[in-house]
């Protein structure tokens, strides 16, 4: 989860934000505005300023908010003018919308407000459904309301084309005034504002409801707010049965308001289709004598405060029953409640025990105020009660200013306790601008606010007298982004065992303290100090700081998780941790002098004490060590079942300290004791297979990989499994001498479970003709949870999680289950991921009851998985493994292919057929999909790159010796925007910011090749090539459309050094033919293989895929890593597949492996010359500007070329460069029977020939280098330079 903000207003009306990643308050720009109220969601914040206007603050993101305007130009054919603007009177407008009903000329479009700007001028959209059309984008039809086609036919009487123009929201990171309304009733000034309801749809962040209360007690709702229209369109009044003072809107469908009379109003009928709801229901105040003054709403929770400061929790509130059933009084007295975020609604009950509380302390002189962070855990042991206690006391003490900021999400007990302790220990003062303002007079809120709080009772009727400067009672702010619940009150409530102490504190005489205060405050200016209050020794306890008073805080957009480390609470370590949070591989501790000295001294010591004494005998003889255990083993033969086995690992160390070992599995068969064994140094991978019933893992060896039948073992407990895995992993790594972090050349892969594996490529992995067999590759696990990983050979590694969060690799290793020795200490961070679990509700129609859950006996389960074979009810479906916890409730998923009706149903004639989103006469069955989110929290060497969620990414492949400074990295956001990362270097692999690259349609896959060839695939399945991308022009200039193979929608693309491969949605792998430097788009697609899920082409043009349906000797596997064998420069397509680890693999990237297979070195005499020629070639190739070296090569006499078979060959082959070159190389190879010397002379000539050839055909230097290198390689003579 990316960092989010806590918003606050100080008494001067200035707005400050506190990031969850940061630790000091930052002042918002627009200092001239003074604010009274804020309500924030993750991406924006709404506020009411001192001028009673509503302002919107949209947080800047790298992806602009852009909105497409379109209009159609319509023409009709007539014999005289041909196609022209003259239309028949019955026709549509010449310029119209898509339906033709609305007249809209180009200049009729106006920007919706001053906060928008046009991105460019109008232009014609030349593509229809992603397919380019010629002739200016016209589509033709017989008459207007008809189907349009690309081609003009004899009967095409009309035509139209689409003009588009983009506008862009420009007022980001600034307060933008919402224009006052010119139509409809104008609302009187607003008093309270609350944003919410973003959870009731699946739409991306941005869609929300904004509710406001005016001074006259009317309720208004802002309509039309969504991502492309952050400002919304219009205020609509929602009539209420009484005058409202305060309103609170939850993240989903809860909306509560407080009436002046003290009752509460609940909005019913809020739903996806009807965000404004349908009716109000009045709920009585919790206590009969005193009315409510305040309400706070979360996802499934409502808190209220009555005028006597009691806090109440509403029981039984949920979407079906927004009113709840009854009030429960809570311990303690508070003045206001704030509900923060909690992503997990369901866990609320559990998690609410833990509340990081942010109490603001206001002493009643202007001077003192301190932030104190407190976490309260409800069911914790006694140590926490102190915290709670202090919190309560703080709250009572300041009364007016306690605010809760809270959060928490899936936390279990241990986490909670640790968090509690942590924050308990820490305490911080808010560092900030204090001085400047401290003597100023509070004017906007604080005083009135406080007085209001205090003067509750007597003031009932007097509200009208207040001017708007006083805010209404509402002190509530609601959250926004993620649903989470908290409240101030909570704190007290949370500690039931605190009862006694609470009351002790609640006895502090609030009334007395405050009343005079109120009086003083309302008088104005520097409130006289309330000495009685100030003398509480709490003051010292918290320290006194001089900072402005806070008047308002909104944690709505602020998402804090149980594991999020908040620097807010930690003043002393502040600096170092903030540094640490962004620096990737080097922490201050690592660079400390003391650390360096220890390392140096230790190595000196070892040298001193060992160097001259190696011949001494070791005191301890090495011996065999056996570790045993009991496990279950999935029997190799039928009937397959789990049987109990004894499991033993015998380790022994050789003389060279290399450890090795054997794994034994002892089982009984027909009363006979037998065993199975595997050598540790033959194990290629250990894969944990967690599910909710067994803690299993799979052990592969090359043989087992061929069989597609690993040794499957189950441990009794998860802990035991992790212990074994950690030990086995360590043994395997030891036996192969693998320590420390993966190299830059490493191959990364992920499984469909999100596990991440890395493999050190052997030098002969890409050898021709005998590469290392794929099934012998050794994979080790790296902590974390990712959907895909991309890397390059400079050590830049990025990943994307299932929740589309982008992560950058920190250079560590281990994490996850591998702790201790198998893990680095630094660079391991907490990582979370969220994914959805889906189940299907199936129904069949019958004449009596219509659709019902009564199916035919032959039908699938009425609640099932997608296949229908497995019964999955809401109650029985568990998170994928114990590592996962639910973070939401089941809700209907409308985003399913085929579409759904309003209730999420899809219809079909019978079950196993295709579904559509509307009902027809023939549909007898229907289904709908339910989704529930679950979350994993783990650790790994990854740091988050906020804030943009990514769909795909690619990193420029290059050679590991490359000296390039800034590395190209492209991504696709999950909205489909194309992004280019700025500032990615070896030192700073995270880069700095995104550059948005405009497209006319959303994209889904992207890949950049070694020569900056950027290929991408749009969501509708067609391919685009980005022109003119280079190191100097990293964003390129325009997109060129490239038609997909006939009748195929493409899914994924990968570009290596020169090769381009794509995969389509039917699993076909295609190779792009005819790519040349002058025509990089190539000419046609050639089919290579089917059953391909993903492809990765590397910096050597090596091709690896994830394949489905790979047959092993025991079983079939899907998701198998495969390597294309026989790929050579002149044979980029290779000839066959070699099968590696699988199944269940999801992604592989070999783009870090640029090591070429080692070659035999030429005999010594030849070497120097060879090297020289090679160098010349390299120089010339590497830098086209070095004319000197080129000209020297060029001085070869022309006649040398003549009569040369190869030269004629080039001439014959003419334009198709690769073909002719590969022919040449074949010729050269065929001659390779002669002596080396002879051959070598010839070779020199050959190099020059190729050079000239390249110049002649204006080939890129890059190509020359490539050809020469591989020609040398073919000669077995290449020496890496």
């Amino acid at each position: 989860m990316s960092s989010s903000l806590l918003w606050a207003v100080d008494v001067y009306g200035r707005v400050h934000t506190l990031s969850t990643a940061g630790q000091c308050w930052e002042l918002c720009k627009d200092a001239h505005l003074e604010f009274k109220r804020l309500t924030s969601v993750q991406q924006c914040c709404w506020g009411i300023a001192g001028d009673h206007q509503v302002y919107l603050y949209v947080r800047c993101s790298d992806v602009p908010i852009r909105c497409q305007e379109e209009t159609y130009e319509n023409q009709r054919w007539n014999p005289v003018d041909r196609f022209c603007e003259k239309l028949l009177p019955s026709d549509r407008w010449q310029w119209s919308d898509v339906t033709g009903l609305k007249h809209q000329t180009l200049d009729s479009f106006r920007l919706p407000s001053e906060h928008w700007e046009w991105e460019a001028d109008w232009y014609v959209d030349e593509s229809i459904d992603g397919e380019p059309t010629e002739k200016g984008g016209w589509t033709y039809a017989i008459d207007f309301p008809a189907t349009y086609t690309k081609d003009k036919k004899w009967n095409s009487c009309v035509r139209r084309r689409r003009w588009i123009r983009y506008r862009r929201y420009k007022s980001r990171d600034t307060w933008a005034k919402i224009p006052s309304q010119d139509v409809g009733p104008l609302p009187d000034p607003f008093n309270d504002i609350s944003a919410g309801c973003w959870e009731i749809t699946d739409e991306p962040r941005g869609r929300l409801s904004l509710w406001a209360v005016s001074l006259q007690g009317k309720v208004w709702c802002r309509e039309g707010i969504h991502h492309h229209n952050p400002e919304g369109s219009v205020w609509t009044e929602v009539t209420t049965p009484g005058e409202v003072v305060q309103i609170s809107c939850g993240p989903s469908d809860l909306l509560w308001a407080v009436l002046w009379e003290g009752q509460l109003l609940v909005r019913e009928g809020i739903s996806r289709e009807n965000p404004k709801g349908s009716s109000w229901v009045v709920v009585d105040s919790p206590s009969t004598e005193v009315g409510a003054i305040h309400v706070a709403v979360g996802t499934n929770v409502v808190w209220a405060v009555t005028k006597d400061r009691k806090v109440w929790f509403r029981r039984g509130v949920n979407s079906h029953n927004p009113c709840g059933t009854g009030w429960i009084g809570m311990v303690g007295e508070m003045v206001m409640v704030n509900v923060g975020l909690n992503d997990q609604v369901r866990d609320f009950r559990k998690s609410r025990g833990i509340i990081p509380l942010k109490a603001m302390k206001v002493s009643f002189e202007l001077s003192g105020k301190t932030w104190k962070a407190i976490v309260v855990a409800r069911d914790e042991n006694r140590s926490h009660s102190e915290t709670a206690n202090s919190l309560v006391s703080a709250g009572c003490f300041f009364s007016g200013e306690v605010r809760v900021q809270s959060q928490s999400s899936c936390m279990n007990d241990t986490e909670s306790s640790s968090e509690t302790e942590r924050s308990q220990a820490a305490q911080s003062t808010s560092p900030m601008h204090a001085d400047a303002m401290k003597r100023r007079i509070p004017k906007v809120t604080s005083d009135s606010f406080i007085s209001e709080l205090v003067s509750d009772k007597e003031r009932k009727p007097g509200r009208d007298g207040r001017d708007d400067q006083e805010e209404g009672a509402p002190q509530e702010q609601d959250q926004e982004s993620v649903p989470q619940e908290t409240s101030i009150k909570l704190l007290s409530q949370s500690s039931s065992q605190l009862g006694a102490r609470d009351s002790q504190w609640s006895n502090v005489d609030l009334e007395e303290a405050q009343t005079p205060l109120a009086a003083a405050a309302s008088d104005t200016t520097e409130t006289s100090s309330l000495s009685s209050v100030a003398t509480y020794n709490l003051e010292e306890q918290y320290g006194v700081d001089e900072h402005p008073l806070w008047a308002w805080v909104c944690g709505g957009g602020c998402a804090v998780d149980s594991h999020t480390h908040l620097n807010w609470f930690n003043a002393s370590t502040g600096v170092s941790s903030s540094v640490q949070s962004m620096s990737l591989s080097i922490t201050p501790a690592q660079t400390a002098a003391w650390r360096k000295q220890i390392f140096e001294q230790l190595s000196e010591r070892s040298k001193r004490e060992l160097e001259n004494f190696r011949h001494y005998e070791q005191a301890i003889e090495q011996s065999v060590w056996v570790k045993k255990g009991i496990m279950q083993w999935w029997r190799d033969w039928k009937p397959n079942k789990w049987i109990d086995v004894q499991f033993a690992l015998e380790q022994f160390s050789g003389s060279d300290c290399n450890r090795d070992g054997i794994l034994f599995i002892y089982y009984t068969f027909n009363d006979e004791k037998k065993y199975l064994h595997a050598f540790i140094n033959e194990i290629t991978i250990l894969v944990p297979v967690l599910n909710d019933t067994k803690h299993t893992f799979a052990v592969y060896t090359p043989e087992r990989t061929k069989q597609r039948w690993p040794i499957r073992l189950a441990a009794a407990t998860e802990q035991e499994m992790h212990d074994w895995l950690a030990l086995l992993n360590l043994s395997c790594c030891d036996s192969r001498g693998i320590h420390g972090p993966p190299s830059k050349q490493a191959i990364w892969s992920t499984t469909c479970k999100g596990d991440i594996y890395v493999c050190e490529p052997a030098p002969n992995l890409e050898a021709v003709p005998y590469p290392l067999p794929c099934d012998q590759m050794f994979w080790r696990q790296i902590g974390g949870h990712l959907r895909l990983v991309e890397s390059n050979s400079l050590g830049i590694v990025w990943g994307i999680g299932y929740d589309h969060t982008a992560w950058v690799y920190t250079g560590g290793y281990g994490g996850g289950f591998s702790q201790g020795l198998a893990s680095s200490t630094d660079n391991i961070h907490t990582q979370t991921d969220v994914k959805s679990v889906y189940i299907y509700e199936n129904q069949r129609w019958n004449p009596v009851t219509g659709y019902s859950s009564r199916g035919l006996p032959t039908d699938r389960y009425m609640w099932s998985d997608v296949s229908g074979l497995q019964e999955c009810t809401k109650a029985s479906t568990k998170p994928p493994s114990p590592q996962w916890t639910w973070v939401s409730d089941w809700c209907i998923d409308y985003n399913i292919s085929g579409g759904t009706d309003m209730e999420g149903w899809q219809y079909a004639a019978d079950f196993p057929v295709t579904y559509h989103g509307y009902k027809t006469m023939k549909d007898f069955v229907r289904r709908r999909r339910w989704a529930r989110k679950c979350k994993i929290t783990t650790t790994g060497p990854w740091l988050e790159i906020p804030p943009i969620a990514l769909w795909d990414l690619t990193i420029l492949p290059c050679s590991s010796q490359s000296s390039m400074e800034e590395i190209s990295l492209w991504g696709i956001s999950n909205k489909g925007d194309v992004l280019c990362r700025i500032g990615v270097t070896r030192q700073s692999p995270a880069g700095t910011s995104w550059l948005h690259i405009g497209t006319d349609q959303p994209f889904k896959s992207i890949s950049i090749g070694g020569g900056y060839q950027v290929w991408a695939i749009s969501r509708n399945g067609s391919t685009f090539y980005r022109g003119s991308v280079s190191a100097e022009n990293p964003a390129g200039d325009c997109w060129y459309h490239i038609p997909a193979p006939p009748r195929q929608k493409l899914k994924q693309v990968s570009v290596g050094r020169t090769s381009v491969y794509v995969v389509d949605e039917n699993g076909n792998l295609w190779y792009r033919q005819g790519l040349t430097p002058s025509y990089p788009q190539g000419s046609s697609w050639e089919h290579i293989s089917n059953n391909v899920r993903k492809v990765c082409v590397g910096p050597l043009d090596q091709v690896w895929i994830i394949a489905d349906k790979v047959q092993g000797s025991h079983s079939l596997s899907c998701g198998t890593v495969c390597h294309r064998v026989g790929v050579q420069p002149m044979e980029p397509k290779g000839h066959s597949w070699d099968y590696g680890i699988g199944g269940g693999w999801e992604h592989i990237t070999i783009r870090g492996n640029s090591q070429e297979a080692p070659r035999i070195v030429m005999p010594v005499p030849a070497e120097s010359t060879l090297e020289k020629s090679g160098r010349v070639a390299e120089e010339g190739g590497g830098d086209g500007g070095r004319t000197a070296s080129i000209s020297s090569v060029l001085s070869v006499k022309e006649e040398e070329l003549n009569g040369n078979a190869e030269y004629s060959c080039m001439q014959i082959m003419g334009g198709t460069v690769p073909a002719s070159l590969s022919l040449i190389c074949c010729l050269r190879l065929a001659k390779n029977g002669q002596t080396v010397e002879n051959d070598f002379k010839e070779f020199n000539i050959f190099v020059r020939q190729v050079f000239i050839y390249c110049l002649k055909f204006k080939l890129l230097p890059f190509y020359f280098q490539y050809i020469v290198k591989y020609s040398l390689v073919s000669y077995g003579a290449y020496i890496p330079l």
Binding site: R422, S572, Q597, I598, Q601, R605, L610, F613, Y616
Partner: protein, 275 residues
């Protein structure tokens, strides 16, 4: 940048080249050659000197051989101190190999404990670990371990199996981030110049204000002379595992990385060599 894990390996695999010479007054049948061994710094003398005993057995009569004990320049070497500590305390700054004299007679009852078998060493070792864990975690970690885990710790040390030992020992080195370290640091400060065997007191890794305590802080409190002296000249060396960490080194880090297998940080404070 080397990882902190490498320190653990370096510490574990520290070896002291040692030459064992039979005491001149021991009765032998023929001249005994010295015996040379690489002693693991983290182990105990009696655990690793079986070979020495066997070597000298060859030249001695069974009846002349009492319990073997070792001495260095007149100091009886306590077997229940880790070898590295003994070396740092008594023999650092001397030429290698370390010349130890082997005795089979006249066991110095008042200086040394008897060590009749490896069980005695094991018991001593385990009690140290437990004591250390009581300081670090109120003993919770060690008490929650199973018997086999305890055994694995001991076997790891006895057989010089780094992985075997650390697979368990890492649990003893864990602490919650919130606390900033162990409850107390298990340490012992040794000096040759005092009769007191060692200094051991309660000392927390962080101050009440959350500041990290360093090695310097510890010494200032326990042994101020080691840090400062009147004339500003450095009079003492502070040695752990044969190295002199800087006084700025955080104590928690030291405890995690430079503790001996018994989980104690054994710190030797020795006078500066005069030359």
């Amino acid at each position: 940048m080397a990882d902190d894990k490498d320190v653990l390996r370096d510490v574990w695999f520290g070896r002291i080249p040692t030459s064992f010479t039979l005491y001149q007054d021991e009765i032998t049948e023929r001249e005994a050659d010295p015996y040379y061994l690489l002693l693991p710094r983290v182990s105990y003398l009696t655990l690793v000197t079986d070979k020495v005993k066997k070597h000298f057995q060859k030249v001695m009569k069974q009846e002349d051989m009492g319990e073997m004990w070792l001495e260095y320049e007149g100091t009886s070497l306590k077997w229940h101190y880790p070898i590295g500590l003994l070396f740092d305390l008594h023999a650092s700054n001397t030429a290698l190999p370390w010349n130890i004299t082997v005795h089979f007679q006249n066991f110095p009852e008042k200086d040394l404990l008897h060590c009749t078998s490896n069980y005695v060493i094991e018991a001593h070792f385990m009690s140290c670990i437990k004591e250390a864990d009581v300081l670090k975690h109120k003993g919770q970690v060690i008490n929650e371990m199973q018997k086999k885990d305890h055994k694995q710790l001991w076997m790891g040390l006895q057989n010089d199996k780094f992985d075997q030992f650390w697979a368990i020992n890492r649990k003893l080195m864990e602490y919650s981030v919130e606390e900033g370290g162990f409850r107390y640091i298990p340490f012992r400060i040794y000096q040759t110049t005092s009769d007191r065997p060692f200094i051991q007191k309660l000392f927390r890794p962080v101050t009440a204000e959350g500041q990290t305590h360093t090695l310097g802080d510890l010494l200032k409190e326990m042994f101020p002379a080691a840090v400062t002296s009147d004339d500003g000249e450095k009079k003492y060396q502070v040695v752990i595992h044969g190295i002199e960490p800087m006084l700025e080194t955080p104590l928690q880090w030291l405890s995690e990385h430079l503790s001996y297998p018994d989980n104690f940080l054994h710190i030797s404070v020795i006078p500066m060599p005069t030359d």
